[in-house]
């Protein structure tokens, strides 16, 4: 097969134009705070500077420059990202072509494997066990691919199984403790008890949908993991017999039951849970704050995530968010690693919670924030995250895995297609994308 030097050159020219033909490092004295003898580190973040999140990143970088005055100087650039993930990633793609990547960049957790296997980011300089132990296990797990640590989370995230205390009280249901979550069959019994109560309110036991996008795999993959299922193997390159494993078929059958027995609506009903007409809802941690501030009438609780009948006590709950990584282009890996550690560290994490209400990525930050001790719901989310957090599938073809998962859920549960057939179709699509990586081996 022939290479295409001319086309590539043209592509690089246009990429260069799009990225503003950068690539030149400023000299000491060019920028305020960058002094002679300091090592220059560039860092890109996926945010707008004027937002709370952006301001927080700016402050963290300033704190880094203060702490490492005389050794390092970090220069932050803000590249906004739109809802569908464009903008920031377009800039990264163009810079990959033109070779203008910064020393440190942010990567969305599920994309770490793709960036690592395509040589956009490189493993961080060695961290001591003590340094690693600062971070939640899910953060280290998310950042590790092929046995090497590539990224450390700027923040962490979680999803709760929220419940309406009044409805459950009326139905006579009590909540199990976090180490003994409801199993599939126990949860069905609970829903059966709750059903008459919510039907009186013209609602459903569960406020649940499978929307297109990242939400579906993020919220519902735990049902598959806790039932002994997986989506890809450890290498991230094999799905046959895994994505379509019998445990996953079982889980899909379980979801079908939830709809067939009328515990959930087959079309999304807006604000079902918030209007007090649903007993349970799966949603991100932001839901706690939105219920507290906008729906004070709802008595909110967080129940442990439901587990499969085959659960072995392992990690299974949703996690994952943006992380910092060292680009493959950086010549100063040690410096880049220091910056990554600082930006993801305790101080930056605490600040991120205070300013933007994002969950931090270190134990110490969580423990220093008052609300995670005093508020039972936030505490429950943190406990779930630290004891049971599980990263999303680590594979270079993650976007295809995520899309396929959503399609399978929608087609099997809502449209009533055969799980085995749908899973096999998904495998075909994922394998088509994996081809690129298998040739390389």
């Amino acid at each position: 097969m022939k290479r295409l030097p001319l086309a590539m050159l043209a592509a690089m020219v246009s990429a260069g134009l799009l990225t503003g033909c950068q690539g030149k490092k400023p000299a000491p004295g060019d920028m305020a705070g960058y002094d002679e003898g300091e090592q220059y580190l560039s860092i890109w973040v996926h945010s707008i500077e004027d937002t709370d999140e952006g301001k927080c990143y700016r402050e963290s970088v300033e704190a880094f420059n203060e702490k490492y005055n005389g050794t390092y100087f970090a220069d932050i650039e803000f590249i906004p990202r739109n809802d569908s993930g464009g903008g920031y990633s377009d800039k990264i793609n163009a810079s990959v072509m033109s070779g203008d990547l910064p020393d440190v960049l942010t990567v969305d957790g599920p994309n770490i494997a793709a960036y690592a296997s395509n040589g956009i980011i490189q493993p961080l300089a060695e961290l001591t066990e003590e340094e690693k132990s600062v971070y939640l296990e899910s953060i280290i797990d998310q950042g590790t691919y092929g046995g090497k640590l590539y990224a450390l989370g700027a923040m962490e995230s979680s999803v709760g199984l929220y419940y309406n205390k009044e409805i459950l009280k009326e139905a006579g249901v009590s909540i199990p403790d976090e180490n003994h979550p409801w199993t599939y069959s126990e949860f069905l019994d609970v829903l059966e008890k709750v059903k008459p109560v919510v039907e009186e309110k013209k609602g459903y036991a569960l406020d649940m949908t499978f929307p297109v996008g990242e939400t579906t795999i993020y919220f519902y993959a735990p049902f598959f993991w806790s039932n002994g299922g997986e989506f890809v193997d450890d290498s991230g390159l094999k799905v046959d017999g895994i994505f379509n494993g019998k445990e996953n078929i079982e889980t899909l059958e379980y979801f079908k039951k939830l709809l067939d027995r009328g515990y959930m609506s087959n079309v999304p009903v807006e604000n079902l849970f918030e209007s007090g007409r649903a007993a349970f809802k799966f949603d991100g941690a932001w839901e706690v704050n939105s219920i507290y501030s906008s729906y004070p009438d709802i008595q909110l609780g967080v129940a442990p995530y439901v587990v499969g009948n085959n659960w072995d006590g392992g990690r299974y709950t949703p996690t994952g968010s943006w992380a910092y990584a060292a680009s493959a282009k950086t010549e100063n890996l040690q410096g880049a690693t220091e910056l990554v550690k600082w930006m993801s560290g305790v101080e930056s994490g605490t600040k991120l919670w205070e300013m933007a209400k994002c969950f931090p990525s270190t134990y110490q930050a969580f423990e220093s924030i008052e609300i995670f001790k005093t508020d039972e719901n936030y505490r429950a989310l943190y406990n779930q995250l630290s004891s049971f957090g599980h990263p999303r599938p680590k594979t270079p073809v993650y976007p295809q895995v995520s899309t396929s998962f959503q399609q399978v859920m929608e087609n099997c549960v809502l449209t009533g297609e055969e799980p085995k057939k749908e899973l096999n179709k998904a495998i075909e699509r994922i394998n088509a994308k994996l081809k690129r990586y298998k040739v390389k081996e």
Partner: protein, 300 residues
């Protein structure tokens, strides 16, 4: 001679900046798209790009999602072109007859065109929602609640109706302009011959509006082929891919899955298809007289 040359230089000086920008942002990307369509260009690893010949073209036609997107787009076009085309003509005819508050109606029907598609889509999510206003109205007539955009069979027509509502004002204004340009003497003559309103419409209004009709139908068709925002905002291409369009597929393949080569191939196929359809439409809607002229010139 000298003057001509300096004039041409002056012309180039005015035209130059536009040409440079057009080259960088339009022609170069177009050429690159064509080149990339024959490669396996992957955004995350451009160094490994290979020439793959026609592989991408075979691949996309075997791809179930692309075929589905293709059919969905076609289906959408088939619904929206008559709906929006005839709708705009009907509205224009009605407004043309109205004597009071003409401006109000014009503005009212044109307003959605000015609104952003994303805003209109968000608004219609509420209208179509299971507990939304449309279902409330249906309930009054004893019709049970419809899922609309949440059902695989109703989502595409629902989006088409919404899109027609949003776009119809633009074509209506064009038709109104056309109607006002028709010579009133033609209608007066018809009145003297005791022509019925239908005869007047069929034999005067329609033929006079014919050139406009071609323009209107082609713009609606091309606009419909490019549908992206509505499914992106309202359904995310679902349920079960029922509103997944070609442009959506190109976007997802290129930006979400990073497969620039494959996305370029889709874009090329899409562009060629739209071009073919436009040519067919132009030929099919050409005036009989024009055809006769064509034939005569050929005979000569």
């Amino acid at each position: 001679m000298m003057r001509k040359k300096s004039q041409s230089l002056l012309g180039m000086a005015f035209f130059g900046p536009a040409l440079v920008l057009l080259t960088i942002f339009l022609f170069l990307p177009m050429i690159l798209t064509l080149v990339f369509s024959f490669t396996d260009f992957f955004a995350l690893n451009p160094g490994l790009t290979h020439f793959v010949g026609l592989d991408n073209f075979f691949q996309i036609f075997q791809d179930e999602e692309f075929r589905r997107a293709f059919l969905n787009t076609l289906c959408f076009v088939l619904i929206i072109v008559p709906l929006q085309g005839l709708g705009s003509l009907g509205l224009a005819l009605l407004i043309n007859k109205v004597t009071h508050c003409k401006k109000y109606f014009k503005v009212a029907f044109f307003l959605p065109v000015v609104m952003s598609l994303a805003v209109v889509s968000t608004l219609w999510i509420q209208i179509y929602s299971p507990e939304g206003i449309l279902n409330a109205i249906l309930e009054n007539f004893g019709i049970s609640a419809q899922p609309f955009i949440n059902s695989a069979s109703q989502a595409l027509p629902s989006i088409a109706v919404m899109s027609a509502w949003q776009g119809v004002g633009y074509q209506m204004i064009i038709f109104l302009g056309g109607l006002q340009g028709i010579n009133p003497a033609l209608y007066e003559a018809a009145d003297m011959d005791h022509a019925t309103p239908w005869q007047k419409f069929k034999d005067i209004t329609l033929p006079e509006l014919k050139p406009l009709c071609i323009f209107v139908f082609i713009t609606i068709t091309i606009g419909a082929f490019r549908m992206l925002v509505q499914p992106m905002v309202m359904t995310g291409g679902g349920p079960s891919h029922s509103t997944y369009t070609m442009v959506y597929d190109i976007y997802e393949t290129g930006t979400v899955n990073w497969e620039i080569g494959l996305a370029s191939t889709m874009a090329i196929v899409f562009a060629v298809f739209v071009m073919i359809l436009t040519v067919i439409q132009t030929i099919a809607t050409r005036d009989k007289e024009e055809k006769d002229v064509d034939k005569k010139t050929k005979k000569k």
